[in-house]
């Protein structure tokens, strides 16, 4: 009752602090969304792999571009985990030629029917050598539609593909992704090498067993086997990017805690006489602090309620080429984080509450 009444009678003060908390929540959600968006632009294609482990060649430093695996290595991996649990993936950068201009594309390749085959959202899976699946981001940037013909240029040679399906969530190193059959990729990537060409860039393994990694590395020579998330983290810049985003988020929380903390600190100082009266009338420190905590939680929740629609509206208004991905996680982190930060900030006022001497409620001592 008291906590709420005070807010009702001090609308301006509490309105302002709620606005500030709301803006901090807004900022945190946007930073989180930007982090997720950047992450997705850098590694979304890898993240969408239906795999637990990724096998690179040992000397590749876990780079998708440099890794090359032979068909012997591929068979050896199949021997260890079973061919239905592994799939070859090829990777290269190609240029998509369109009447409107050309565009760099992260071109992935897979063996149809293997675990490396991406899930098609619209259209159909590829059936022939000259068919291609494109990521949503590519159809957005290039205007490609199902049934369109796209020319992929590699090593000065052009290859024609028909778009048959669209997949979702796939970008790599900021490039929109496309998927073709692995035999076609071998020809494009290693022209004229025929049977001597590497069989794949990497191999995916779908196997949660804890010892799979060690077994594969032991049996299959010259390989480096890492988890999918480790493979993502070894992509140049991804780790640093996420650290930057997390640091900014941390600053946001600290600012939130400081703003809320100092607001309630000042409020507590201002009403120390009132607190003395309550304590003289028998209120415990806990009771007084409890009223304060209620106000803190109310302010934090009101801030969340204010900040989240703002973030949603901004996400709608922002052009689609900005890597921004507003997720429930971003809301959860922003909302829950600011509430916890606000409560931590309020702890500074606890000391203030304890220090108020109820005797000071009586005349001049």
């Amino acid at each position: 009752m008291l906590a709420l009444q005070e807010i009702r009678r001090k609308k301006l003060q509490f309105g302002l602090i709620t606005l500030i908390v709301g803006l901090v929540v807004y900022l945190l959600v946007m930073i989180g969304a930007l982090g997720t968006g950047l992450m997705s632009a850098m590694s979304g294609a890898i993240d969408s792999f239906n795999a637990d482990l990724v096998v690179f060649s040992a000397d590749s430093n876990n780079s998708f571009l440099r890794s090359e695996l032979t068909s012997d290595q591929q068979s050896a991996v199949s021997g260890v985990v079973g061919s239905e649990r592994t799939g070859a993936v090829g990777y290269m950068v190609a240029t998509a030629q369109r009447a409107a201009g050309s565009e760099e594309v992260a071109l992935f390749a897979f063996q149809p029917g293997s675990i490396a085959e991406p899930a098609v959202r619209s259209g159909r899976p590829i059936e022939g050598q000259d068919e291609i699946l494109i990521d949503k981001s590519l159809s957005r940037s290039s205007g490609l539609r199902l049934g369109d013909v796209v020319v992929m240029r590699s090593a000065l040679k052009d290859y024609e593909f028909t778009v048959v399906g669209e997949v979702e969530g796939g970008q790599f190193l900021g490039l929109p992704a496309a998927w073709v059959g692995i035999d076609q990729w071998r020809e494009m990537r290693y022209p004229g090498q025929g049977k001597d060409a590497p069989a794949a860039s990497v191999l995916l393994i779908r196997d949660g067993g804890s010892d799979t990694r060690g077994r594969v590395e032991e049996v299959v020579g010259n390989t480096s086997v890492v988890t999918k998330s480790a493979a993502i983290n070894s992509i140049g810049g991804v780790k640093q990017q996420q650290q930057v985003v997390m640091t900014i988020e941390l600053f946001g929380f600290v600012i939130g805690a400081l703003v809320v903390g100092s607001f309630f600190f000042v409020l507590t100082m201002q009403r120390s006489y009132e607190i003395a009266i309550f304590k003289a009338m028998g209120a415990s420190n806990w009771w007084v602090f409890g009223q304060l905590i209620r106000q803190v939680i109310l302010v934090a929740l009101a801030g969340v309620v204010l900040g989240i629609p703002l973030a949603l509206l901004t996400a709608l208004a922002i052009p689609s080429d900005v890597p921004l991905k507003v997720t429930a996680g971003a809301f959860l982190v922003g909302g829950l984080g600011i509430t916890i930060a606000a409560l931590l900030g309020a702890v500074f006022s606890a000391r203030q509450v304890v220090r108020v001497n109820p005797v000071s409620a009586l005349g001049q001592m």
Partner: protein, 229 residues
């Protein structure tokens, strides 16, 4: 005879404030007995120790020596939490300037007492309503202190002091900032309530004009409490 009927007994109360080398004897050897239904005024100039005395009687300050027994409870034996509970359940305060919480309505100022004890229920609402009615401010119960007249604020403050049905009602300088007509009215009001509700009433004041309605007057000077001759 219940323990409450013993009233308030203060025996040889003393309070010494130490600060470095010097020590100030704010109250020395003060003894006082007040029965329920009796309204006693303690009169003295500022700095005479009357507020210190009031604070010790109400369990806000621990005496340096001596005892305070209220309704059979020796409050010197209580720890801090128990003293807070004693104040919640047994003491009603009328503060200087009445000091109502400005953002709470008259009724909510009374209900705050119940909220402190965690007893904010229908019974509390009924009691607050009834007290304000009896004090003649029932019509004003939904007003904030800022929109009440001085006289109305006093009556709300008295209602707040009576809200927890205390045994002991302590009044701190009720007439400061009031003209003598208003001052007389509030002291008369307090005296009536103490009598009608069989409370132990103790008022400290420096204002000698307000003593017509009290049962007994004690003087305090330099920390010594005595009956006027």
């Amino acid at each position: 005879m219940s323990e409450d009927d013993y009233g308030l007994i203060a025996q040889s109360l003393a309070k010494v404030y130490e600060s470095g080398e010097t020590s100030v004897k704010a109250v020395r050897d003060a003894s006082l007995t007040v029965r329920p239904g009796e309204f006693v005024a303690v009169v003295g100039p500022s700095g005479s120790g009357k507020t210190t005395l009031l604070a010790m009687l109400g369990g806000l300050l621990t005496p340096t020596s001596g005892r305070v027994i209220v309704g059979g409870t020796d409050i010197g034996q209580l720890n801090e939490a128990q003293r807070a509970r004693f104040r919640r359940e047994r003491v009603g305060f009328v503060f200087q300037g009445f000091n109502l919480v400005p953002y709470l309505t008259a009724e909510q100022n009374l209900l705050a007492i119940s909220a402190i004890s965690g007893r904010l229920n229908t019974e509390a609402r009924r009691r607050a309503h009834q007290l304000l009615q009896e004090l003649g401010v029932g019509e004003r119960s939904r007003h904030l202190p800022g929109s009440l007249s001085g006289g109305e604020r006093q009556r709300v403050a008295i209602g707040r002091a009576l809200m927890n049905d205390p045994l002991l009602v302590l009044v701190d300088e009720p007439t400061s900032n009031l003209d003598s007509e208003q001052g007389n009215a509030v002291v008369r009001n307090l005296a009536e309530e103490v009598k009608a509700r069989n409370k132990i009433g103790i008022m400290v004041t420096h204002d000698r004009r307000m003593l017509a309605y009290v049962d007994r007057v004690m003087e305090i000077a330099d920390g010594r409490l005595f009956s006027p001759v």
